[in-house]
């Protein structure tokens, strides 16, 4: 009986009741807005460093190890490249957020195809904010968008190039532009008819690096005037560290 009472208490103490796996409940809301607040409140740095972390899915223990490793690297913020979850469930969103919060720096999460499952899209918006968003930090523009075309049955506007065009409009004082989306262009899950327009747009607008996840394998290529960097999944025990100093950008693959 004592065992049952203990188990009951353990359950009661940790959000014991689940009404549905995709319930829109829980403490995490608008985390991107909060991360942006923290970034803009901090002293602007001419030189800064951020980490780009790949798919976490079923590799949460590996992700925890990545966070421990990242503590040594002195990053100013963190970007997770999507597939934070495997099933897109509320609980997995919470686990993912809890893991990313272990590193005491602001973080951003791209929406992956797994994160959109079930009520995932709504969960994502509730937890983080809109899938398409951008901000400028210390003269570098960060642009995030949804490229999970197959997940929505290739509707023709995923990725949303109209939005992207506006987001990539050159601004004074912006020295570098980076884009972030889960599925890399050219992958079978990326809308075939939008590959060329996207690649051209990124070239035209002077994007320096286009970051991706999804394929679970580190990749670093230069094509059509843009560098395309794809991260390992966390199972691959590596992530990417980017150092920006003015117009100088250095990308390093860090294994842990």
């Amino acid at each position: 009986m004592r065992v049952w009472v203990t188990l009951l208490l353990v359950c009661a103490g940790c959000g014991a009741f689940e009404f549905h796996p995709y319930e829109l409940r829980g403490p995490h809301r608008d985390l991107h807005a909060r991360s942006l607040e923290r970034l803009s409140a901090a002293e602007p740095k001419p030189a800064f460093r951020f980490a780009v972390v790949g798919d976490m899915q079923l590799f949460l223990d590996d992700s925890a190890a990545a966070m421990r490793d990242l503590e040594e690297r002195g990053v100013d913020f963190l970007i997770q490249m999507g597939d934070l979850t495997e099933f897109g469930s509320t609980q997995e969103y919470d686990w993912g957020v809890e893991l990313l919060s272990r590193l005491k720096v602001p973080f951003f999460v791209v929406m992956g195809n797994h994160d959109a499952l079930g009520k995932g899209q709504k969960l994502y918006r509730r937890t983080f904010g809109p899938e398409s968003f951008s901000f400028t930090y210390s003269g570098t523009r960060f642009v995030f968008f949804d490229s999970n075309s197959r997940e929505y049955g290739f509707p023709g506007d995923i990725p949303d190039l109209t939005w992207l065009k506006t987001a990539l409009t050159p601004e004074p004082l912006v020295q570098n532009t980076f884009t972030f989306s889960h599925v890399p262009p050219g992958n079978g899950d990326f809308d075939d008819s939008l590959v060329e327009p996207l690649v051209k747009l990124q070239e035209q607008k002077g994007v320096s690096i286009s970051f991706h996840g999804h394929v679970h394998r580190f990749h670093d290529v230069f094509a059509h005037g843009v560098r395309y960097v794809t991260t390992d999944s966390m199972k691959g025990r590596s992530y990417v560290v980017v150092d920006v100093d003015g117009t100088s950008v250095r990308v390093q693959r860090a294994s842990f």
Partner: protein, 198 residues
């Protein structure tokens, strides 16, 4: 003397058993197998805020099956969720004391189906075979729990039983097995319920 006492005790036990069995049989007498012998109502457990439905028990209530319809309202879950659940349970032990019947261990499994266009039970055609290895509309789960009940003659109920269940859904189990350090105690959520046995 000791032998006599033992004989008396076993005779008593046999009589009690017979009485209970005859009562159980009497309750079902004339009812076809598909007429449920209990009804359950449950709070939480990943199948709705509230769920309710009929159940059937066999072998002196040690084996049972239930069918539940669950609902979670937008006010509590952020969205409407409608879920059908099939549950199978085994309750091997029974303790009787002071008018209470306690089942200290319940092990079981359930499979739930969530209604709606946002979920799939078969892989939609936009995916290649094996693209996702699970189905978002179908949710298997393992159950671990206990119950205690007593008869309520005023309502003509054989037993009114309260129960709790620790529910380990598929994604919790999979993540727990793969990531024991991270997932840890969050393998389970809690369900509370009441069963009325006719």
């Amino acid at each position: 003397m000791a032998g006599h006492g033992r004989l008396k005790a076993s005779l008593l036990a046999a009589l009690l058993l017979a009485a209970r069995q005859s009562r159980a049989e009497a309750a079902r007498e004339g009812s076809p197998w598909y007429v449920p012998d209990h009804a359950a109502m449950q709070l939480a457990g990943a199948i709705g805020f509230l769920s309710a439905g009929p159940g059937w028990s066999f072998r002196d209530d040690t084996v049972e099956a239930a069918f539940l319809l669950g609902w979670a309202p937008p006010a509590l879950a952020g969205e409407d969720f409608l879920t059908f659940t099939m549950k199978g349970q085994w309750r091997p032990f029974r303790l009787d004391a002071a008018g209470w019947t306690v089942r200290p261990l319940t092990v079981g499994a359930m499979l739930s189906y969530t209604v709606g266009d946002d979920y799939f039970a078969g892989l939609p055609s936009r995916y290649d075979r094996g693209y996702y290895w699970f189905r978002t509309a179908l949710r298997p789960a393992l159950l671990l729990g206990a119950s205690a009940g007593r008869p309520v003659e005023a309502l003509n109920l054989r037993l009114v039983e309260g129960y709790f269940e620790l529910v380990a859904t598929d994604y919790r189990l999979v993540q727990f097995v793969r990531n024991p350090a991270t997932v840890n105690v969050e393998l389970f959520t809690l369900a509370l319920g009441v069963k009325l046995r006719f």
